[in-house]
Every structure is written in C-alpha cells, then in structure tokens.
Symmetry: C2
Subunit: 243 residues, 2 copies
C-alpha cells in the first residue's frame, strides 16, 4: 500500500466536491476517519491537503466547506473596482468601512499622487468580503479636493469606484499598480481572518481619471490568496488568440 493514504483520500474527496457550490459543508475529520478506516491524523492531513490546494476553507468550531477563488484581473484596461470584479466573477461583494478620517497626506503617498505632503486627504480603511468570506483589507487615500464628503457616501455606496464616478464625475482607471505575494503579520492576518504567516497579495494601485488624467486615489490593499486568484498583466498588447 502506498504510504500516503491522506493523498488518496484527498484526491478522492477533491473529485467528489468538484462542482459543488461554494460554501457547501463537507465531512469533518472524524467522519473522514470512520469512512476510510484511518486515524484522525490521516483524515486531518487529507483535509489540510485540500485546504492547501485552496479547494476548501476550514473554520475552527464550525466545519469544513467548499471554497472557490474569484478571478481578479489587474490590467490597464480593466476598471479598478472590487465590487464589479467580484460580481463579474459570480460572487456577492460586500465592503465595510473600518475607519474613515481626514488626515495629512504622508510623504510617500503625496509623491505618488503628485500633491504636497500634508495636503488634507481622506484615509479610508475598509474590509471586503466575497460571499461573506473575508477576502481583502487595506488603506485608501483620496485627496479632499477630489471628494469633499466621503465618510457619509462610503457608508451608503459600498463602492469607491461608484462614488468617484457619480460624485466626482470621473472615470477611474489604473495609472500604475504593483502586486506581490507576501506573508501576513499578526495585524493583517486578523483583518483577513486567516493565520499569521499565511501568504496574501499586497496590491498597490494609483488610479486616475481616464478622460482628464487627473490622479484620484492611491490604494494599498491585502487580499487573501486563497480567496482571490489574481492575475496581473503588463503592457498594452492584447492577447489576440487569432487562429
């Protein structure tokens, strides 16, 4: 017998749950152990293997559930909107404001946005969910002369993109962006509801108005890599799959 029972069990369950709607509850460790006649350690290893493959999500005290990553394409052509991207991917977005205040712009932010340091700007801290699963968190800076009143608006409209479009009359577009995969520290892990040391995306995006070119905001957000299948594209050549 192959020494890796947990792998066989994982492959079998992976095939079984393929196609199930995200969030479906699946068998727990003890149930797996009984069903396959193995100890709890092997059953646990199988479920952890599925979690490593990002096929399931496990929550202590609750259970194990099927999971799905949303597709998130970052490109010069696509609009920088979490809500829209999530919806396009077939999931339900939700964003909650953790804090919203006016503060002097830090020097590094001012450098990117082309303002004098200490210019008043909104500092927005928000957390985003896909199908009620925590998926993203981070900071967003918006100069006050782009939007005067943000605190109230952002409570009503979940989307910063919609606010910039409808209240500032802009057409937000990514002017520059950068993404990398990092390991989360305790604070970021707490906001994302994951374990410290888990890897997550760090995405920075400088957005401007597509028509006037005016810089609108700088966002610096973390995204769980098991919740977001991020693809990022450089260059302008469209991938023309012509026969």
């Amino acid at each position: 017998m192959a020494a890796r029972k947990f792998r066989e069990i994982a492959d079998l369950i992976a095939a079984e749950i393929d196609g199930l709607p995200p969030g479906t509850r699946i068998a727990g460790e003890s149930e797996i152990g009984e069903r396959f006649g193995v100890g709890r350690a092997a059953a646990r290893a199988a479920l952890q293997e599925l979690q490593r493959r990002m096929l399931v999500r496990r929550v202590q005290g609750v259970g194990t559930f099927t999971a799905r990553r949303i597709d998130y394409l970052i490109s010069g052509h696509r609009a920088p909107s979490w809500s829209q991207t999530v919806r396009d991917s077939g999931s339900v977005p939700r964003t909650v404001v953790r804090s919203c205040a006016v503060a002097p712009m830090p020097a590094d932010v001012a450098g990117l946005l082309g303002y004098e340091p200490s210019t008043p700007c909104h500092l927005l801290q928000r957390r985003s969910f896909t199908d009620e699963v925590p998926a993203a968190w981070g900071l967003e800076w918006v100069p006050v002369d782009v939007i005067g009143e943000l605190a109230i608006a952002v409570q009503h409209f979940g989307s910063l993109h919609v606010i910039l479009r409808d209240m500032a009359g802009a057409e937000p577009q990514r002017a520059w962006s950068r993404a990398s995969l990092e390991t989360t520290d305790d604070h970021v892990a707490a906001e994302l509801g994951c374990t410290p040391g888990d890897s997550a995306w760090l995405v920075e995006s400088l957005n401007h108005d597509a028509r006037s070119g005016r810089l609108l905001c700088l966002t610096r957000r973390w995204m769980r890599s098991d919740a977001v299948r991020l693809t990022i594209e450089t260059g302008s050549a469209p991938p023309s799959h012509a026969p």
Copy 2:
C-alpha cells in the same frame, strides 16, 4: 501556558536564523524536540511553520536549511532575463536545457507572436536554479527566423537573453506579460522539485526588440513562490518617492 508551543518555538528560531546565509543547515526535528522539551509533533509543527513562512527549506533525507527568496520585478522597464535578475538579487543563477527542438508553432503561440500557425520555431524547455535550488521551469518559443541555430548556443550561454542580444542583435524587452499564482500538478511539481499542490507562479511573457519592435519570443514559465518573491508592475508612472 499558551496552547501553541510550536508557534513560540518557530518565532524563537525565526529570530535565531535571521541574517544567516541562505543554505545554512539548522536543527532537525529531534534536536528541536530535545532542546525545548517537546514531542516530535510539536517540533515538526514549528519547522513546518517556518517553511510556510518561506524562511526555511526542508528536504527529506537531508535536513532543514535557511532559505531566501530572490526578488523578481516584472515591469516594462526591466530586461526579461532570469540570469541577470538572479545575479542582481545576489544569488547564483544556473539554467539547464531539458529539451530543444524545432517544431511547428501552435496556434495560440502564433497568434501572440504574429506568425502563421505551423511556422517553424524552436521549442525550448529549460529548468533554472538559484544557488543550486530548483526555482523555475517552462517552455519558450523562438521563431527560427529570429535565431537559426539555438540548440548549440543555448548549451554554451546559459541565458536566452544573451543569445538574442549577441547573436540576433536585439535588445529584448517585455512587450506584454501576465503572472498568476497557481497550484502545481504532478508534472510541474516534479520539475520544480516541490510537492504537487504547492503554489507557484505561472508567468507568460511576450518579448520584442526594444529598438525595432520586432517580436522575438514567447515564454511560459513556472516559478516556485518560495524561491521567487515576484513583483509585477503595470503602467508607466515611475514610483517617485519624492519628499
């Protein structure tokens, strides 16, 4: 006592190994167990935690070693060269040819390179290392009218970038590229020397001559995410950190 001994042990060892040169051998599971007076399971969990944080690399039958990710920036401005990028990061690159043959160009590749499908092109399959650690593998397509003789040259010069520069007189530059984080299947995992299901970068890059704009090659490579700290940048605005 906090129930998570392995976390404390991991944090302690993480601090101890900080700054050690990559590849340094560190204590194994049994040694950790004795030192901290814990069972092997807890000692093992601590070392696995460090592996999860990409601070160590573990090899069955050999031991546990300090590890370091090289920085790999993909941007329109930086030259698309594995060798150069690795050297810039302070590590030693090596690339070995797994296979090199002339074959008719697949339709999707032809579409991106702007050739008729079935045009003769080199199909190169190579594996790359950083400090003798497997880090990347993948396929590269080069039309024969860009370089006639590739098989011999690529054995001598490790770098495709150097060949295109010195033999084709080109200045390779990324015209378009895309990166995403995927989970490895058995084949890719074998080439990268990791466990199937581990996550790895999938990087596609379409390169052209910076001067003439002529398309030179298409590369589709996998990179171990625990060996490469990939950052990818879109847009042209330089991140000017002005005070």
